[in-house]
Each structure stands twice: as structure tokens, then as C-alpha cells.
């Protein structure tokens, strides 16, 4: 790491920070993927996690995923709450016996020295009602701040994980703020340069936060969104139904991934409707159930595909 130019050092630039994590996990044998090209609420929704966590095949991957939480928009006025932020996601299946050590080494790689910082694993049971998923693990604290989620998946999309995958999620902005020592996310140095060459996180994203907050809370077209939800739901079911084949002596599925895209879509549309405040408390539950049904059906299809089934 010492060979890195100053502007690429993880404690100097946001992009250097991301690159350091990617390099670290690449060295552990992970495939480094690029973000999934769809809007989603968390990195867990990426098919590289949700679907690849299922089935017996080995799978080690890491990627950055922009996460959209329409309700968390604050018009750019809150120092650390945003409707769009980055998660760094690692999944290792089966979970290696030294996953905690690897995680701590990854912190060292981004400049968090465990002889100076107080790093703790504090109980946190993870559950995603929309994904029909749960796992046990911790939130990882660094000097009293939650910086990552660490989960051993037990069930995803209604399917028991066999073997279990370990999942790590880093809140990138928050960690980078800590490492760079800034209190406001928009003050993060994005490119590690100084003076006129310096680009901040605010330069890149502040306007987007303002515009999307307006959109999410005030103008998002709810008629269209209600329709989109229904369309995505129908399409998902249609692709799932169409994908089944009787292949040899076992059932096969040939369209789990396109069907799952529609599940991701439905979930994001629901989040937008929720932010617009047009879904009542009782309806809310039923929308969550509908997305979960899609996720479960996709999970069931996935374990009948080439990548999801045994051998």
C-alpha cells in the first residue's frame, strides 16, 4: 500500500478507499463485480448475493452497490442521511473459518489499525422480510460507530442455505468519513486531490440528493408506480411460469435471473410508493408479502438452474 500515490490512499480519497477494499478482497479470491444495473435498497438484493447464496456451489464475490432508500432522502440537508449511498458487499460461500480475521484485515487495509481502534462484534440478527431471508451475526463497531454488518445467512428467498454463506456489508460513506475525519458526508474528498483539483462527495452527489428527495417525496408519479408494481409482479410470475422445463430426470429452470430482475423492480417501486406516503399501514404489510412471494418463487427457480443446483 505504501507504493500508492498519496491521492489514492484510502484515508485521503473516497475512490481510493473503495479501490483498497476491492483489491483486498480480490486477493482473497473474490470475483470483483461491478454494481448491478438496477435500482435496489441494499447490496443484498444483487443477484450475486441473493441468488448465488443458494445452492451448494462455491461462490466468493465482492462489489460496490449503490443503494436507494427513497425514504431516507433529506434534500441534502442531513450530514449523513441520503436516499442514495454506496454499500460494499462481500459474499463468501461456504463461509470460511477465518472470515472474522479476514474482515479485520480488510479494516487494516483501509487504514483502521486494531491496535489503536476499539473494534467490537455486537449482536445483530439480520432479517429481510421482503427477501424471505434471515441470518445471525453482528454489527461491527469501530470506536462506538457501526461500520459494517456481518451475517451468516441461514435462509434466503425462503430456501435454507446449504452451505451457509458469510456476508459482509460496509457502509462506505460512513467508514470513509471516519477515516478522513469529516463530519459531513458532502465534505468527503472523492478523488484525493487538493486545491482546484479536489472533487468532493458533495460535488458529485449533493444536487442528486436534492433532486431525488423532491422526486421521492413530492413528485414521483404514483399512478405510474402502482401500475409498475403490478406490471413487474405479473412479469415476474410470467417469466417464472415460462422458465420451467422437464430436463432429463430433473426439473430445470431457464429464466430465474430475468424473473428476479422484476422482483427487484417491484421492491424498489414499493419503496418509492412508501416514501410518497400513499401506502397505509395495513397495505404496507401486504405489499411486503407480495414481494416476498416473488423472491421465494425466484429462489425456488434458481436452485433448479445450472448455477443454483447441485453438480
Amino acid at each position: 500500500m505504501d507504493a500508492l500515490p498519496a491521492h489514492m490512499r484510502p484515508e485521503r480519497s473516497f475512490q481510493g478507499f473503495i479501490l483498497a477494499l476491492q483489491r483486498f478482497w480480490a486477493e482473497q479470491g473474490c470475483v470483483i463485480l461491478q454494481p448491478y444495473d438496477m435500482e435496489m435498497g441494499a447490496g443484498t438484493f444483487h443477484p450475486a448475493t441473493t441468488l448465488r447464496a443458494l445452492g451448494p456451489k462455491r461462490w466468493n464475490a465482492a462489489y460496490v452497490q449503490p443503494s436507494r432508500r427513497p425514504k431516507d432522502g433529506r434534500y441534502g440537508e442531513n450530514p449523513n442521511r441520503m436516499q442514495h449511498y454506496y454499500q460494499f458487499q462481500v459474499i463468501m460461500k461456504p463461509s470460511p473459518p477465518n472470515l472474522q480475521d479476514l474482515y479485520l484485515k480488510s479494516l487494516a487495509a483501509i487504514g483502521i489499525d486494531s491496535s489503536l481502534h476499539d473494534i467490537r462484534f455486537v449482536e445483530d440478527d439480520w432479517e429481510s422480510p421482503t427477501l424471505g431471508a434471515w441470518g445471525l451475526g453482528w454489527e461491527c463497531w469501530c470506536d462506538g460507530m457501526e461500520v459494517s454488518q456481518f451475517t451468516y445467512f441461514q435462509q434466503v428467498a425462503g430456501v435454507e442455505c446449504a452451505p451457509v454463506a458469510g456476508e459482509l456489508t460496509y457502509g462506505l460513506e460512513r467508514l470513509a468519513m471516519y477515516v478522513q475525519g469529516v463530519d459531513r458526508v458532502y465534505d468527503l474528498n472523492f478523488n484525493g486531490r487538493d486545491g482546484a483539483d479536489k472533487v468532493t462527495y458533495g460535488d458529485v452527489f449533493l444536487q442528486a440528493e436534492q433532486e431525488y428527495s423532491r422526486h421521492n417525496f413530492e413528485y414521483a408519479d404514483t399512478t405510474m408506480l402502482f401500475e409498475q408494481f403490478k406490471m413487474a409482479e405479473d412479469a415476474c410470475k410470467k417469466y417464472l411460469a415460462a422458465g420451467w422445463r422437464e430436463g432429463g430426470n430433473q426439473k430445470e429452470h431457464l429464466m430465474a435471473l430475468p424473473a428476479y430482475d422484476q422482483c427487484i423492480k417491484a421492491s424498489h417501486v414499493f419503496n418509492l410508493l412508501d416514501a410518497r406516503g400513499v401506502i397505509s399501514v395495513t397495505e404496507r404489510q401486504s405489499y411486503i408479502m407480495r414481494v416476498r412471494e416473488l423472491a421465494k418463487a425466484c429462489g425456488d427457480a434458481w436452485v433448479h438452474t445450472e448455477a443454483g443446483r447441485a453438480v
Binding site: P56, P79, N80, P94, S95, P96, P97, Q100, S114, S115, L116, H117, D118, I119, R120, F121, V122, E123, D125, G135, L136, G137, W138, C142, D143, G144, M145, Y152, Q154, C161, A162, P163, V164, G166, Y178, D183
Partner: protein, 764 residues
Amino acid sequence: MPDLLLELFSEEIPARMQAKAADDLRRMVTDKLVAEGLVYEGAKAFATPRRLALTVHGIPARQSDLKEERRGPRVGGPDAAIQGFLKATGLVRIEDAKIQTDPKKGDFYIALIEKPGRATIDVLAEILPVIIRTFPWPKSMRWGERSAKSGSLSWVRPLHSIIATFGPETEEPDVVKFSVDGIEAGQTTFGHRFMAPAAISVRRFEDYEAKLKAAKVVLDPQARKDIILADAKQLAFAQGFELVEDQVLLDEVAGLVEWPVALMGSFDEEFLSIPGEVIRATIRNNQKCFVVSDPKTGKLTNKFILTANIEAADGGKTIIGGNERVIRARLSDAKFFYETDLKTKLEARLPKFEQIVFHEKLGTQAERIKRIERLVAEIAPLVGADVEKAKRAAHLAKADLLTEVVGEFPELQGLMGKYYALAQGEDASVAAANEEHYKPQGPADRVPNDPLSVSVALADKIDTLVGFWAIDEKPTGSKDPYALRRAALGVIRLILENQLRVRITDLAASSYLWHLALINSQWRLFSYDGAEDSSQLIACDSIQDWSKYSERQLFVMYGRARSPHEGDDEIAFPDQPGGPFRWPKIKSLPRDMLSFFADRLKVQLRDQGARHDLVDAVFSLGGQDDLLLVVRRVEALGKFLDTDDGKNLLAGIKRASNILAIEEKKDKRAFDGAPDAGLYNLPEEKALANAIDQVKREAGAAVQKEDFATAMSAMAKLRPAVDAFFDKVKVNDDEPKVRENRLKLLNEIRAATRAVADFSKIEG
């Protein structure tokens, strides 16, 4: 004798599960040992975030040999029986069995089975893996390569290594040989995750504990707590401050560290404008840090104490700095919430309660508040509270549930209401009632004594009890999801500790009326007084109106609810949301609830050392719904029964009751009614009759004045007359009329003493 050392080393165990897990481990291992005939001298279990450890000392090295005689079939019995016997006992030939002669049944076979005791280490190798596999974690998980197969080990978090050694103090112990899911038991563990992560080889508990300490692990949770508490106090003291002690937080924090290091940080003084409780909740719940107060003012200072898990290279500067940043951000949020809350008046929040369901069958929170306001108006005069203020207090008491701060920290409900009420200029008592109406929360909680708080607290709890009683959600066995036992105990303590004279059944009846009357936020109680249609219904606005009518004349307008007819047990609500279901009748619910109160009171008095049979003796008089008087009667009765007069009178009354019970059974009739003075032919009869008259008069008058001690002394005067009567008079006289008259006289004794209690319910 040899000792066992067991350690289960894993990834971080949730703090809240550690104490119970240590206890379970000790219990499971020692129970199994005892079941295997291995009685041990002592056992102790420990937990840290990464390990459960157990030491059991003084276990015999072997089980003792067992000798057993087993009786078999008779000699010459069927072959199948003999073969079965051989198989069951492990004998090779029947000739190996002894023959025993029984004079009645003839000869039969006896097998002598000798079961040699096994080495304890072998027994341990068998029981330990079973205990590990069946360990009762509240939640457990699978992990790693092996989780691909079914039947893989479940543990709270991944289990990495096991130490199991067994041997006498003076020798090198042996490893108990077993493996669980690929983990071989051995004698290796690891030190502190960051400060001493290397492997450590251990032999027995003494060197295990010492080597861990050298590797920066304090094994004993109590020792960790002691260190944290002492260091935190010292840090605060050094700056002239005082640690705000917090046992629950201390327990949790001790479960998050293996090597506790207390450090002090600070925050901006501007945050001290937030109420101290909010600062504390923020720092404690979110950051698991202690707060510090200034002994001069008794208020919080801008300091906090955190417990780190390492001795940092820079002495903790970085750690303190990081925690300060997080706490600053958290306190800014809290300050923002608090200041936002202050901008909205409490009553302006109330309309939102119309959308919030309290319970599907019991309506919205808004309806509940309306009912409590009605009920509190009836209670206030009984407890000396101002009616208008009490109504105002009840009106506002729940509003803080909708504030930002309470949303964030539910445990601050009530308290925030008080702050916000004061801030908007409410009367101090009205504001205090916001907080105090939730009290007492449990047997150890303080009982409020401001009449305003008392009236709202009673109304709140009675509304809850009556509502859940009406929809038949009473507590059963260990299930009490709505904490109704706690609510009833709260009512009892409010009444007794404030010496209140209220009738539980009246309050319950009122509350029930308001439940029935308030449907969809409309008051809809009408009397049915021969009305043919709704235009003839008379609105009832208060309990006084209601009580003028009989049950049959009352009904509730709700959808197609029908009027109850004489003999109906319930009121039907065909259209109620969540229905159709039936509610109990207005006059039966309070009676039913009173017996629940009687049970709770019994528990409460028994906990204070009173005799439960005395409570029964008072309640069995019937109609005892003034709890304060019940307790006074019980107290007077208890004192009286401690005297010789009391004991002897009780014996006399019991004797009279027994005779009566026998004769009543014999004649199949009761001997009630006044005895005929003309039939007395012995002086002792006349004396007893006179004494009864006098006692009735005096005790009756004393009871009227609620002077139970005097009533008891009056009753004591019966004793010589009763004693003399039993001494000299034969009850079962040959002349039937005289016998009947004497039995009636005995009945009078019983009747006279019922002025204070039913003595037949008293034991002894």
C-alpha cells in the same frame, strides 16, 4: 479427586445470552454426572464474549461397580421365556443362573449381573458431545463447509475449539477424547482477539485462568464488572464528578469485552439543554456508555465513560475521539427531536390517536383516552383530586407517545410528557401525572401520592383491566401478555399505600359502561325503558343515570346489538369489528374481576407475611370490595388470633361449626333463625345468649365505625360463655325441641362472629 475443565471457544456470543449459557452449561454437565452416579464437590461456570468455560472439581475417577440380581422365569418354564432371560441378562447358558426357592411359587432363576463402573473420562467423552449438540441457545446457527450437510452442528455463532481436560490436581491431566462436528477436544485456547491472539496450551482450571489473564482475558464476568465499575467511578471521581451507576448497562458492557478498559470522553456543553434522561438514554442505549453527574448540582455533566476492549497504543486517544464523534452526532439528533417536539402542543397530537388501534376489539387509542377521562372524573372526588385538573391530566397523559423523542426512546414515555406539559405551561400536578400515571410499574416501583396522579393512574389501569376482561383476554397460568396482573397489583398498591376508600366493583362497572358506550368514538349508551324504537331511547350521560335502570332495561345501541333479556349472560355485538363476539353483562363483569383482585391481594399480603387463610376468611363474607377495609380486617384478625382469647374463641367457634355441620347433615336442614328464649333451661344457655346479644351489638357498632380492633375485643367477651356452654351443656338433648334450640344458639355464635370474618375459613 480429579477435576474437569471445559472450554467452548467461539465467535462473539451475544452479551444478553452469556450468563444463562454459563448457567446452562454448569447445570447440564453436573446433572449428567450425577445421573451417571458421579457426585462432584463443586462446579463453577464463566462466560466471556468468546468463550464458555466450566470447572467441576472433585469428581471420582471411576463410577462404582454395580451389582444387581435379576429375577427370571421359573425353573422348567417355557423355552421362549428362558431365551429372553438369557438375552436380557447377557448370560451364556441357563446353568450360569442361580436357582432360588420360593415356598409359594416354587423354584426360579436368578441372574447375578455385575456392571463394572466405567472410568469417568470415558463417561465424559460420551456426555459432553451430547450436551454440546443439544445446548439450549435461544437462537443458533450453522456455518462453514459442513453446513452443506444436514445434521451439522448448531451453535450460537461459529464454534472454533474445545478444551476438555480431566485429571487429579497433582498429575498432568488427560484430554477427554471426543469430537463434535470435526472439532477435536484438546487443551488449546486463544487469548485476547487483538492483544494476545496466539494459541495457549492449558492443563487445568488454575493455569487456564492464570494464562488467560496473562493473555489479556478476564474470565470471570463478575471480575470484569468490578473492574469496570471501580475504574469508571475512579475516572469520574478524579474530575470531581460521580458515575451514574447502571446495573443493566454494566451487565451488558461486561459481556462485550474480555479486557475492560474504562475511558472518559466529553461532549459539547450545549447539549446539556436537553433533559438529562434523554442524554442518558441516547448515550446508554445507542452507545452503551455510562453518564456522569456533578454531585454539587445532582445534574449530568458533559462527560461519559466508555468501556473499550483493548489497551490502545495511544492510551485510548483515538478511541475516545471516535466515541465523542458518534455521541456528538447522536446528541444532535436527540436535541433536534426534542426541540421539534417542543414546537407542537400535546393536545395538537391527539387527533392522530384516532388512527391508532389500541386493540382490535377495544377500539382506538383516542377512544381509550376518552374512556379514561370519563372514569377519572368519577375517581377524582373519591381520592381528593380536582376533577377538572384530573380530566386535563388524563386528556394529555398519552400524547407524548406520538413525540419524536418517545418514538426513539420508548422507555421515556410519560417522562417526556411531563417535560412537554411543563413547557406548555400546564399545572405542575397535571404535568407530573403524565409521568406518574404509569406507576407503579412493578412491585418495587414507587407508588405516586399526588391525588391527581393517583386518580389518572387508577383510571388508566382499571380501563385496561376491564377492557381485557370484557373481551376475555384474562391471564392464564404463566401467560399474561397484557400485564394484567401487574395492573391489578398496581391498583391494589395505589389504594393501600394511599389509604383510599374506593369500591373496586363500582369503578369496574363504570369503566365497563364506558367501554360499552363508546363505539366508533361516539357515546351511544341509552336506556331501554320500555321504548319501542330508537326515538324513545333516553341517553345516559353518567353512571348515575345508568344505575337507575335494571340490567334488562339497558342496552347499547350498536349496529344491530339487541337488548339483553332477563337471564342472558352476555351482550351480543354482531357487527363489532373483529366480531361477532359477546361481551359479559354489565353487572357480572365487576364481580368476576373482584375475585381476581382478591387473588392478587392474597399474593401481595402473603408476600408481606400475612396469613392467606385470614384473607380468605374476610373475602368469604362476600361484598368485600373495599380493599383498604379488607386489609384492616385481616390485620385486626391476625392480632386477635395471636392472643389467648382469640385462639380459644376460634377453637370454640370451630367446635360449634363442626357440631352444626354434622347435625345439619344428619337432619338435612340448616339451624338458622332465632333461638327461643323460653326453651333455655340451663344458666349457661342464657349466659351464652346474652353474651351473643351483647357481642352482636358491640361488634356491630364497632364494625360500623370501622374499628375492627374494638370489634375483636368485643368478640373476646364471647369466649367464657362459649367455653362454659360446651363445658356444661349437652347440645344433642333427648328432647328434640331443646336440641334444635341449642343448635340454633350455636349457629348464632357463627353469625355473630361473621361481623368481622368467616372464622370457619381460618386454619388451626
